[in-house]
């Protein structure tokens, strides 16, 4: 059977301070694929000639793509299976195409009864400068009725 079992009890094994990291180099390919997925065609991300004329000097990576790496870290901490309830992020520095970003997700609070987890998320570039920080709230996905029991 390929069916995975919902591990609701696993929330009880989690405690504040537990964390996971996920690191990824945000390449040209990522930037182009993200343009296709999101429809975001801002020249700051796609047009090197334009970006070179701005104070940023080169193409940057869409902040929302950097924020997406939070999902990579949260997945490693909580999978399966949680759904995002809210995400609040502040972007502190630009991330350039080719930078390697490490996302860190740390448990802040676990509410086992409600199936909710609150996490503190931060992203760092390869120089260990913080590029993003935020709070994520996740809620456990329940099984459908037919597959219970």
């Amino acid at each position: 059977m390929s069916k995975m079992v919902f591990r609701k009890t696993r929330l009880e094994e989690l405690k504040p301070g537990d964390f996971k990291l996920f690191a990824k180099t945000l390449s040209d390919t990522d930037a182009m694929l993200y343009a296709g997925v999101s429809g975001e065609m801002s020249p700051l991300y796609l047009n090197e000639s334009f970006a070179a004329k701005t104070e940023l000097k080169s193409r940057t990576v869409p902040p929302m793509l950097v924020a997406g790496l939070a999902g990579g870290a949260i997945y490693r901490l909580l999978s399966p299976a949680v759904k995002t309830e809210s995400r609040t992020f502040r972007f502190l520095r630009p991330v350039y195409t080719g930078d390697t970003v490490t996302a860190r997700a740390e448990i802040k609070e676990v509410d086992c009864a409600a199936g909710q987890v609150e996490l503190v998320v931060s992203c760092y570039n390869q120089y260990e400068e913080k590029v993003m920080e935020g709070i994520c709230r996740e809620v456990l996905i329940s099984e459908n009725e037919e597959s219970e029991g």
Binding site: S2, T54, T60, S79, P80, P94
Partner: protein
């Protein structure tokens, strides 16, 4: 020449009440690409068999994938030389594969001094009726402070 293809705005060009829209169908290709982009291969996104056993009876899109559809609206409202400073996103309803999401962004604040624009965003699904739960409610602060050489 290249500059002519880039739509730039000044903060003075932006007014409270300005609106912009973007709509896209979220396909399996989008979800698989986003899994690769974000590193989030959670089974309720990438495993059909697992998705079928959940309360959604389907795989669902990554929340941040749907949130990404907001970006084109921010660029339409603030032009090509703006970037996001902060965002607060609340996910109200899951997005299933093949749902079509419409994003509406509306300018709610313009601060000339800090060159920041506040934008309220609501994302809805196909066939949404008034009073239906939206997919996303969000607020964004977009900065217009990127200097561009003449």
């Amino acid at each position: 020449m290249q500059m002519e293809s880039v739509s730039l705005k000044k903060i003075e060009d932006i007014s409270i009440g300005d609106c912009a829209y973007f709509a896209k169908t979220v396909t399996e290709a989008d979800v698989m690409m986003f899994a690769q982009l974000s590193g989030d291969y959670a089974p309720h996104h990438v495993n059909k068999e697992f998705g079928d056993t959940t309360m959604f009876h389907s795989r669902i899109a990554h929340g941040m994938l749907t949130a990404g559809l907001i970006c084109p609206v921010l660029t339409k409202l603030c032009g090509g030389a703006s970037y996001t400073c902060s965002q607060e996103i609340r996910f109200k309803t899951a997005v299933l594969l093949h749902d079509t999401i419409t994003v509406k962004g509306e300018v709610t604040g313009v601060d000339i001094d800090s060159k920041q624009v506040s934008i309220d965003v609501v994302c809805t699904k196909q066939n949404a009726k008034p009073g239906d739960r939206p997919v996303i409610l969000a607020t964004f602060v977009q900065s217009m402070a990127v200097a561009v050489a003449e």
